[in-house]
């Protein structure tokens, strides 16, 4: 065994709180060898990111206390003077982060931000740094690299920005790369490309890689060895193969069991509940099957015909727009009572805009929306209010979609009071019952959102919506921000509610594995258009459109034996739905691949 590049021994990090020091990383130990990839995997609050920040000593020394030992090639990093540590950062250990959108300085060109590393660590001159920067951008395969040196971060797509981050991290040829959730914020096809790129660059340079993620699929894809963290403890360390095949710790097994796996639904007729997994004991409890809730003989509760939503962009000297984002282009579908239709696609494909247009949170440009007898686009203010009683929305971020100054009781009661369904006292009684229904305690009525975890907050958001007894719920990425075990529980709750109240869900998500589990039917969107729509089994089992196939293939599988060995195609900037003024979209034709399975013809 080669000498470790990075050795972490008994790392303990504590944060200052009003109640005293609180340990968030408790005695974590692991090694990273040169050329090796070690993944730290865990759910939110497991301390995995704090571990990486501790290694880099990027935590504020006033509020964080780091104990233990971190050595890089025998040098003790924790005892180095700050000035020496600074020379290690970016030079010996480089880091990339989760949010490529916010991790680059918006005020400087990408060329300058990459070149900065070379100038500070290698003492390169301006011209020298510029030439090397162009080469680096070439190396991370940014198309047309030399011409894009002087572009600003906002002129790049998310995936391209992450490539810029990688180029920046590799600039000083680091021995160790710490990647903190580098693909979490990216679309799944882009994620595949970035993982591929990282693997390749590692082979070329022989650097060690510490990969921090919550996604077991990504771990299986990339890591040689895996460290599993749970609430600050390192519960298990081992080769990725061993962790996946026979994890020792119950939490490891629970984490794997909770992870939705794409393709696991073959042969199932209806949506299927997730097994109930206890992360503490590792016990796995299968849940009962879902009853058939869909009645296709009745008129659809929601019927969307030729929906178009465009946003004007740019303006010339006279204030006229120079073009439009064709966010939703000629979208049509029906949704029946008790049915879940998932809208899937990558960021910018128009799936959220579709959902918002249907509830008139955004005004559509044209089209026809019939919702439980309401002609949505023609409604006046009073009818609009009544329509919203029938159709409600649950948003993605349970942290920002609840008013922090309202108690949970007030939050849940408010819609019933506003819609005059109940008086204050009655609304509060109903709110208590609803909290109980979504799996919270009625005793929590008077607590504020910040006292709840992400999963609990999302339950509150669901309870708030249920008060109006809606027939249609638009769930916009409602479980995307949740940890796997919590995600499974919330998805199960949605299925329970559907069974009980025959609610129709328009489930907007980019998470194909969850979509496979929850949907009756699936519509795949690309650049504002539905390219394929049909029963879940058909779309997942026999995808027809090339984009659907690409989307499904890109989903990482939590099985190290099935690592993808794809041919790397040259990355392209995501095509944009922005069209010049006066653009008329070409006519589209759909063919019926099977009963109810429509696919857009490709030319």
């Amino acid at each position: 065994m080669t000498a470790p590049l990075l050795s972490v021994r008994d790392l303990t990090t504590a944060f200052r709180t009003p109640e005293g020091w609180r340990e968030v990383v408790k005695g974590v130990s692991f090694n990273v060898a040169p050329g090796e990839t070690v993944a730290i995997v865990g759910e939110s609050g497991s301390g995995k990111s704090v571990t990486s920040m501790s290694i880099m000593r990027l935590l504020d020394p006033v509020n964080a206390r780091i104990g233990g030992a971190v050595t890089l090639e025998g040098r003790d990093l924790l005892s180095l003077p700050e000035e020496d540590m600074r020379h290690i950062r970016g030079k010996d250990i480089a880091m990339i982060f989760q949010e490529p959108m916010t991790s680059l300085n918006p005020a400087y060109t990408v060329g300058r931000q990459i070149g900065e590393v070379l100038r500070h660590h290698d003492g390169a001159g301006r011209a020298e740094a510029r030439a090397a920067t162009a080469a680096l951008m070439e190396r991370v395969r940014i198309p047309n690299a030399a011409a894009r040196l002087d572009d600003y971060p906002h002129q790049f797509s998310g995936g391209m920005r992450q490539r810029v981050m990688i180029a920046m991290a590799l600039a000083a040829r680091p021995k160790l790369l710490i990647a903190d959730e580098p693909t979490t914020a990216l679309d799944v096809t882009i994620q595949g490309e970035i993982l591929e790129l990282l693997k390749e660059l590692q082979e070329e340079s022989g650097m060690g890689m510490l990969f921090i993620t919550h996604d077991m699929g990504v771990v299986a894809e990339i890591a040689d060895r895996t460290v599993v963290m749970y609430r600050g403890d390192c519960v298990e360390t081992g080769t990725t193969r061993k962790i996946f095949s026979r994890g020792d710790h119950p939490y490891t097994r629970a984490l794997l069991a909770a992870m939705p796996r794409i393709g696991s639904m073959a042969g199932e007729a209806w949506p299927l509940r997730f097994d109930r997994v206890d992360t503490a004991t590792g016990s796995i409890e299968p849940q009962g099957p879902v009853a058939d809730t869909v009645d296709r003989s009745a008129t659809p509760v929601l019927s969307v015909k030729n929906l178009v939503t465009r946003f004007n962009v740019g303006s010339d000297l006279f204030g006229r727009s120079t073009g439009a984002v064709h966010a939703v282009e000629n979208v049509s579908f029906d949704l029946h009572q008790g049915e879940t239709l998932s809208l899937v696609g990558e960021s910018g494909c128009g799936k959220s805009t579709t959902g918002r247009s249907i509830l008139r949170l955004i005004e559509a440009t044209s089209g026809d929306i019939q919702l439980d007898g309401f002609d949505v686009r023609a409604l006046g203010p009073g009818d609009l209010m009544r329509m919203r009683r029938t159709a409600q929305m649950i948003f993605q971020d349970p942290y920002s979609s609840l008013n922090p100054r309202m108690t949970v009781g007030q939050t849940v009661a408010e819609p019933m009071i506003r819609h005059r369904l109940a008086g204050r006292g009655e609304a509060r009684r109903r709110a208590a019952a609803l909290l109980e229904r979504v799996g919270l305690s009625p005793a929590m009525l008077d607590r504020y959102p910040h006292e709840f975890s992400g999963g609990q907050r999302q339950r509150v958001a669901i309870a708030r919506v249920l008060g109006l007894n809606p027939k249609v719920i638009v769930a916009d990425e409602s479980v995307s921000a949740l940890d796997v075990s919590i995600k499974a529980q919330v998805v199960n709750l949605l299925m329970d509610l559907q069974e009980e109240r025959k609610i129709a869900f328009l489930f907007i998500s980019h998470d194909m594995a969850v979509v496979e589990r929850i949907s009756h039917r699936v519509a795949v969107m690309y650049l504002g258009e539905i390219v394929e729509i049909g029963p879940r089994a058909a779309v997942f089992g026999a995808p027809q459109h090339p984009y659907t196939k690409r989307l499904l293939e890109a989903v990482p599988v939590p099985d190290p034996a099935r690592r993808h060995h794809r041919l790397t195609v040259a990355p392209e900037e995501l095509k944009s739905p922005v069209r010049p003024r006066g653009f008329t979209p070409p006519p589209r034709h759909y063919r019926e691949a099977a009963a109810g399975h429509l696919v857009m013809e490709t030319h």
Binding site: R86, P106, Y152
Partner: protein
């Protein structure tokens, strides 16, 4: 970029037009017939009619406005009722004084306020932060006139270092001009410095906790580069807006400070004009201040685009 500037100017023009309508309308709303006032004792109907004809008071009001606006555009702001001097001349006399005072005050404010704000933000909750905040709070709460009087007593009367009052044009005797302006601009500048410091501090605090600052630190950049290069560059935007607004306010004149240091600036002109009911002068001043504000806003907008590349491409 040129297109951006042009567009901003085009947007500023209607605002100026609205201001001119308000200024014109204000005069029409004033009680009393100006012709009666002009005619004095003589109430001869023929004279009154002649005066009305002369001042086009029989025209519809929009015609009067257009004539007035035409005169203004030609640089004719009318005559002062008191001194019988053209308003334009009066303003042209005082404007350089006020501009000099405003500029010097602003320099004081920025030189003190911005570094103090950056320092306080980077040393949040330390004794430096604490001292900066206490000093800023005192700067805000000490009235200008009191500080001015104290400074005169100390620096001029007791120490005899600087003249206590008076004004000298910068182009006639620059040294003397700077000497006379030093204390008043310091008095005005300190109060503004406190405001600037508070805003710089909060803007910097917001930026310092952002992801790209973490990136900059993870790159191993020296603290100086992280704070001044990466953070300040992004925190400077709200500071620019505030500085422009403060400067616009300064053009309006600092009545008390000018009074204490007997500086013949806009503030004094305004007070005199208001008390003397010298409406033409008041009108001219209001127009001038409004134009000053718009110009400052325009400059702020342009600086915004310089510092924020996103604006440049989106607008």
């Amino acid at each position: 970029m040129l297109r951006f500037v042009l567009k901003r100017i085009l947007i500023a023009l209607p605002t100026l037009l609205i201001v001119s309508i308000l200024v014109f309308g204000l005069q029409k709303l004033l009680p009393g017939d100006p012709v009666l006032a002009l005619a004095g004792e003589e109430r001869d109907p023929e004279t009154l009619a002649r005066l009305r004809e002369l001042y086009r008071l029989n025209d519809p009001i929009w015609m009067q406005y257009l004539h007035w606006l035409g005169d203004v555009l030609k640089g004719d702001l009318g005559m002062s009722l008191r001194t019988n001097q053209p308003v334009l001349v009066l303003i042209a006399e005082k404007l350089p004084v006020t501009l000099q005072l405003a500029t010097m005050s602003m320099i004081f404010a920025m030189v003190i306020g911005i570094p103090a704000g950056i320092l306080a933000a980077t040393r949040k909750n330390s004794w430096i932060d604490w001292i900066c905040n206490v000093v800023a709070l005192s700067g805000l709460s000490i009235p200008n006139f009191w500080l001015g009087i104290m400074l005169i007593l100390l620096v001029s009367v007791n120490l005899g270092w600087l003249p206590a009052s008076g004004y000298e044009s910068f182009f006639v005797d620059p040294v003397r001009s700077l000497q006379t302006m030093l204390m008043p601009s310091f008095v005005l500048g300190t109060a503004l410095a406190a405001t600037l410091m508070r805003h710089t501090r909060s803007a910097m605090l917001g930026v310092l906790s952002s992801d790209y600052i973490r990136t900059a630190r993870a790159k191993g950049l020296p603290g100086r580069v992280v704070v001044l290069g990466h953070a300040f560059r992004n925190a400077v935007l709200p500071v620019i807006t505030l500085s422009a607004l403060l400067f616009g306010e300064l053009i309006g004149g600092a009545v008390l400070t000018e009074q204490i240091f007997t500086i013949p600036g806009f503030g004094k002109l305004t007070v005199d004009a208001v008390f003397n009911r010298d409406y033409a002068v008041v009108q001219g001043i209001v127009l001038c201040i409004a134009a000053g504000f718009l110009v400052m806003n325009l400059i702020a907008d342009i600086l915004y685009a310089v510092f924020n590349p996103r604006l440049r491409t989106e607008l």
